[in-house]
C-alpha cells in the first residue's frame, strides 16, 4: 500500500496555508484581533487517492477548500498543483487550473441554480471545456448524466423536481463536466437521507476508479472518512493536529483530540454500550485562542507547559504526524 512519495505522484500540495479574518472594533474600526480560520495547514494529495479532512464544525475545513479553489483569497501559504504554484496566479492565468479542481458541495438544494435546468447547469461546464458544437455537447451531457446514474430525460428539468440524492448526483455531474483530476468533496453526504448516503459514496468510489480522480474528502463523520480515505488529517481550530494513514490513525491515534473523536463515534457495529459517567464538563469557546496548543482547555492532559510552547508537527512514526509535545515522549 505504502509507496514512496514521488513528486510526480502528488497532485496537490498545500503548504502553510493561512487565512485570518479581522475582528474590527471601536471608533475607527481598528483591527483588534484575528479569527484564525486557517492557521498554517499543510498536506498533500496523491494521484488517485483520497485525503480525508476531519474535524468539528467551525474548525476551518470548508475554508481550506475555498482557499484551494481560490474562491477566497489566502493570506499566506503556497498551493502547488502538480508542478505549478497556483497561489499567486491571476484570474486569467488560473483558468486552465480551475478546470482541474472541482468541488462537490454539502447542501444539494443550494448548489444548483434553481432557475436553470439540469442540462443548462452541466452544459455550462462543457462549454468552458471548449466543446462548441451543440450536438457534441448533448452527447457529452448524456454521457455525464448516465455516469452519475441519472436518466437522460432529466436534462430539461429544474432542480426542484429532484430529491436530495438526485441533486447531489447532478452536482457531481456538473463538477465532472470539465474533466477535473481533483475533486474536493465538502461533506457531500451529511445532508442526505441515511438510505441515500451509501448510493453517493458508491458513486464517488466508482467514479474515482473510472476516471482516476483524486479526492479531498471533507467530513465530520469518521465512519465515512475511515471507509473512503487513504490518508486522514484531523483538523482542530484551524490547525491539523494529526495526520496519518487511515489504518494508523484508527489503530493508534496519538493526539488527545483524535482520541476523543474516535471514542465519540457512534458506531452501530460496536454494540457495546458505553458506561454512564457523570455529565462531562462542557467547554466554552473563546474567540481568540491562547498561546501554545489550541486544544488547551478541552484537553484531558492539560498542563501549564501546553500554554507556553509553540508546537511543532512532529513525525512520531513513519508518515504519522502529531501536533502535541507529549506524544514523542510517550512513544519513545
Amino acid at each position: 500500500m505504502e509507496t514512496r512519495h514521488t513528486p510526480q505522484n502528488i497532485i496537490l500540495k498545500v503548504e502553510d496555508l493561512k487565512k485570518y479574518f479581522p475582528i474590527r472594533r471601536g471608533f475607527f474600526q481598528n483591527i483588534r484581533g484575528w479569527i484564525k480560520a486557517v492557521d498554517g495547514v499543510s498536506f498533500e494529495i496523491e494521484r488517485g487517492k483520497t485525503l480525508g479532512l476531519v474535524g468539528e464544525s467551525g474548525c476551518g475545513k470548508t475554508t481550506v477548500a475555498w482557499l484551494i479553489l481560490k474562491l477566497l483569497k489566502m493570506d499566506e501559504g503556497r498551493i502547488i498543483f502538480r508542478d505549478t504554484e497556483i497561489s499567486e496566479l491571476s484570474e486569467k492565468e488560473m483558468k486552465p487550473y480551475r478546470q482541474e479542481m472541482q468541488m462537490v458541495f454539502q447542501d444539494p438544494y443550494g448548489s444548483l441554480n434553481p432557475r436553470m435546468t439540469v442540462g443548462q447547469s452541466i452544459e455550462e461546464g462543457l462549454s468552458i471545456l471548449g466543446i462548441k458544437s451543440r450536438k457534441k455537447r448533448k452527447e457529452h451531457l448524456k454521457k455525464l448524466l448516465e455516469m452519475v446514474g441519472m436518466s437522460t430525460n432529466s436534462s430539461d428539468r429544474y432542480p426542484h423536481e429532484f430529491s436530495g440524492g438526485q441533486r447531489q448526483r447532478i452536482g457531481i455531474a456538473r463538477a465532472l463536466s470539465v474533466e477535473p483530476s481533483l475533486v474536493i468533496c465538502d461533506e457531500p453526504i451529511s445532508a442526505l437521507d441515511v438510505s441515500i448516503q451509501a448510493q453517493i459514496i458508491n458513486l464517488l468510489k466508482d467514479l474515482q476508479d473510472q476516471l482516476e480522480l483524486s479526492y479531498l474528502f471533507i467530513s465530520h463523520d469518521l465512519n465515512v472518512i475511515g471507509y473512503l480515505c487513504t490518508t486522514i488529517s484531523v483538523m482542530y481550530k484551524g490547525l491539523i493536529v494529526e495526520s496519518a494513514s487511515a489504518e494508523a490513525l484508527f489503530s493508534h491515534p496519538y493526539h488527545p483530540y483524535t482520541i476523543s473523536l474516535l471514542s465519540a463515534i457512534p458506531d452501530p457495529e460496536s454494540s457495546v454500550k458505553k458506561e454512564v459517567k457523570l455529565p462531562a464538563r462542557d467547554f466554552s469557546d473563546t474567540l481568540i485562542p491562547p498561546d501554545g496548543c489550541n486544544y488547551q482547555g478541552r484537553c484531558p492532559m492539560d498542563e501549564p507547559r501546553c500554554g507556553q510552547e509553540d508546537l511543532i508537527f512532529t513525525e512520531v512514526e513513519k508518515d504519522h504526524f502529531v501536533r502535541c509535545w507529549k506524544v514523542p515522549k510517550n512513544n519513545v
Binding site: L69, Q99, Q102, F105, S111, R115, R157
Partner: protein
Amino acid sequence: MKNSAQKEFKEDFQLEEPLAPKKTRFQEFWLIFRQNRLAIIGFFIFVLFFLSAIVGLVLTSGQDPLFDPARIRLQEKLLPPLAKPNLDSLAPEDVPAIGFYLMGTDDLGRDVFARMLQGAWVSLTVGFVAVGISVLIGIFLGGIAGYFGQHYMRINHIVLASLFIFGVGLIAVQSPHLGAACLVLGFLLICYQALTKRKPRKKSMPSWTRFLFKNAISVDTLIMRVVDIMLCFPSFFLILTVVALLPASIYNIMIVIGLTSWMGTTRFVRAEFLSLREQDFVAAVRALGVSNYRIIFRHMMPNAIAPVLVSATIGIATAILTEAGLSFLGFGVPPPHATWGNILSDGKRFIFDAPWLTFIPGIVILIVVLSFNLFGEGLRDVMNPKLRERH
C-alpha cells in the same frame, strides 16, 4: 443474504428519474397563482387597464380623434353620466361618438370619458417609465454593491473623480479658470498613473504617492452612503420641488419620480446579491471558471429579479398615485392635456353640484392602483420559492 441482495440490486440497476411529472414553468406559476382569487381579479383589471390605455391613446390622439378630450361645448357643461347631448344646440361634429356622455361632462362641457381615456395612457406611461428608470438604476447600483462590494476605491480614484466633477461643475457655475485648472490637474494625474503602472512594483515611488494608492472606501460603503443621502430627502416634497422648478412636462415627471425612488430596489438587490454570493451554486460556477459577467447576468440576476418584479408592480401603483397627487396639486402635465389627477382637481370645485367629476377619476385610480397591488401580492406568492419547492 447481503450478497444476494447486492446482486439483485446490480441486476435491476436503473437510472434515477425525476420525481415529479413534467410541468412547464408557466403551469407551475398558474397552479399557485390561481389559488389567490384577489390576485386573479387584480390581474384581469391590470390587463383591462393596459388595453384601454392603448385603445384610449389611439382613439383620443391624432388630428380628428374619435373621442376628442379637448373639445369644449360650453352649452353642455356639467352633464351627469349617461346624459344624452342636446342635439339641437350642438354642431354635428361635437356630438360624442357613442351618442351620449358615458361619464358626463365637466365644467367646460368636455367629455369626461374621452378625458379619462386620455388620462389612462398618461397614468400607464408614468407608472411604467418611472418604475423602469428606478428599477434599472436600482439593479445596476445594487448589483455592483452586492457583487463588487468588497472592492475598494483607492484614494487616487476618488481624487480623480472629484477633480473632474468639480472641474465641470465650476465651469458650469461661471468660474472657468478654477474649473479648467481642476480638469488639467485631473488629466495630469491620469498621465502619472499610466506612467507608474508600467513600472513593475510600487516600491520605487516616493512615499507621498503611495498614499494615493491606499484603499479609501469600499464600493459597497460608497453606494450605500449615496442611498442614505437620497433617503434623507422627503420624497414627495423633493419630487414636488423639482417638478415645480422644471418646465411642466409629462416626461420630467416620469424621470423625477424614477430618479427619486430607486433606493429601495438598490438595497433589495444588494441584499439579494450578498446572500446569493454565499450560495453554493455561485461558488460552483466560480470554481468552473465562469466569467463575472456571466455569473452576474446568467446566475445571479434571474434569482434576484423575481422579488424586484414584485416590488416594481407595487411601485407602478405608487407612481400612479404620486403622479395623480402632483396633477392634483396643479404641477406636472400642462393643462389642456387630461390626467386623472387634474380631472379630479378641476372637479373638486363642483363637488356638490357634479360629484361625478370627483368620483369617477377617484374610483378609477383606486381600482387601478388596487389591481396593481393585488397582482403584485399574487406574484409574490408565485415567486416565493418555498411554495414551489417540494421539500
